[in-house]
Symmetry: C2
Subunit: 337 residues, 2 copies
């Protein structure tokens, strides 16, 4: 039995697009209870959990990898995919200013999936959990036509550390970046073009960045301790995620392109593919490197490893400006676009 | 690009089956850290979470619904599916003795999914969360070929309540059931046979039980307060889940069939389908009603709504006996079987 066709004339999730779908779904939920400090719509939720004396402040977020969309088994080992699932989930925890604690994982797999893939997957999950200071707490397995992996990460906010939301940017704040943007997208382009043979080491690192990103989680808590006013995990591209910070606060983020760290390997990969302009597209639109973009009030020193990449302005002609102008490069990843 | 074929001769997850796959994956994780009180392998994990003074005891579990496997859009509204996802996740929380607190949800959807389905889904999630005393805390959306929904539920253990694991049954314990087994499987059989027109109310209730189960979550905490030695959410059928309790403790669960609550609608539905023997199969093998099966030490009064359905014996010829004999009815649901 196949899934039913959509009724003619009814809008589909593809018609809505990701942002409108998410906003529409959230609008149907009742107002969050008081203990739900940050509800749906941010990188992760923040809960006050009843504890013997006072509350524990828990952070929880969920993120999914779909085979043939988010990874390909020709290109990635099970270990790679396990690392990637843990990394993208813990990056959401870090983006709230919290420390990764635990991960639960749902695996949907066809019967024909090699058992070795599942074993490698477990190893990759365990490795990245260990690197993040976390543990795999549990999971679920189901039968399905393709591999779908959903992780749910838990984190905790350290004593005296306030959660950093998306929506706190104010005009005058500095915009700062921890990590780099572009390597994952460049690696994906090399893999898709089958341009992976005999690569120099710097270009080979782009493939690794795509297959198994290893974000710096500690930058999130450093930003929170440093008084960050807003923060986001760059999972869908710098411009798109910067626009999310801007839209959430009704401001404009003005980015200075020359301030962005631009690994030489991006230009080398674009040249190899014969399309030099791709390097800037990857820099501004590539997601999945899980760099952290944060805003800091004026006068606050930027905590390491953040570097200044722009400033927050009052709402202007576009949510994001690059070198003072609305960007003309593709705006990053969105589902069903 | 299609997913690769499995290499010839290598075992697949289908060859392993669900139980061996799960055991194999868990075996690759390092030993759980001390704060992970119950790790992978139970209905849900139990974590000690750092709190200002002492710890908060958190329960987390994850469960997935795959379109065409676990639900069909011809048969179920988005609201039904939302209720079902919340119910199966919160039942796992209850099975540890905890109270539902929050749910995060990942939705994988094809572009052609009607937006109305997503809106109904949100409503169903919100309704069952409210019934359980919980809230939707967050989620994620992704593009995929079919609808896959993963929920992750959080719960808390009340002060003075110990988590109830699967593995604590001891010979001499009483076996007890809260809820009924069979209605969801009977409803599924009626739907699959397209025998849904002009049903009397009692049979119509079987369809509802399959589409949108509404378990009694409070029974879980009642069992924990009543000193239960072991407990499981019956999601895959009474015999299969009873066998999980038995195997975890190295005992045999001896069930008394006449003690099991047997709704008259099961026999009526089996008669309608012309196969009277199905009623017993649904009773013993049907999952997704999310009744709770628990064991209680001898002399302990059973807390409401538990009723006695058998006893725990030393390990015998089979993990589960029905009326003193190994059962000859199908053993319930397992993936890739």
């Amino acid at each position: 039995m196949a899934a039913p066709d959509p009724p003619a004339g009814q809008p589909t999730v593809g018609d809505l697009g990701e942002n409108a779908l998410v906003a529409g779904v959230i609008s149907r939920f009742p107002l969050p209870p008081p203990w739900l400090r940050v509800g749906p719509g941010d990188d992760a939720a923040v809960l006050d959990l009843p504890a013997p004396d006072g509350v524990a402040r828990l952070v929880i977020g969920t993120d999914t990898l779909v085979e043939l969309r988010d990874f390909h088994r020709e290109w990635s080992t099970g270990h790679d995919v396990g690392v990637k699932l843990a990394a993208q989930n813990f990056a959401d925890i870090a983006a709230m200013g919290a420390r990764p604690l635990a991960l639960v994982v749902s695996l949907v797999a066809p019967a024909a999936l090699p058992a070795s893939f599942a074993a490698e997957l477990a190893d990759g999950l365990a490795d990245e959990c260990a690197r993040a200071g976390a543990a795999v707490a549990g999971g679920d397995v189901s039968d399905g036509d393709g591999v779908v992996l959903t992780g749910t990460a838990l984190g905790v906010l350290a004593d005296g550390v306030a959660a950093v939301r998306r929506d706190g940017a104010r005009p005058g704040d500095r915009v700062a970046l921890a990590g780099v943007c572009g390597p994952s997208a460049a690696g994906f382009a090399l893999l898709r073009a089958d341009a992976t043979a005999d690569l120099p080491e710097a270009l080979g690192a782009l493939l690794v960045a795509h297959r198994a990103p290893r974000p710096g989680y500690a930058a999130g808590e450093a930003a929170a301790r440093g008084g960050a006013s807003a923060m986001i995990d760059i999972s869908d591209g710098l411009l798109r995620d910067a626009a999310r910070i801007a839209s959430a606060a009704g401001v404009t983020l003005s980015l200075d392109r020359t301030a962005l760290p631009r690994p030489a390997a991006l230009d080398a990969a674009a040249a190899l593919l014969g399309r030099p302009a791709l390097a800037t597209s990857w820099l501004l639109g590539g997601g999945e490197d899980h760099a952290l973009l944060a805003c800091f009030p004026p006068g606050r020193p930027l905590p390491a490893p953040f570097r200044p990449v722009g400033e927050v302005l009052a709402a202007g002609p576009a949510p994001v400006l690059v070198d003072g102008r609305p960007p003309d490069t593709p705006a990053g990843w969105t589902h069903w676009s």
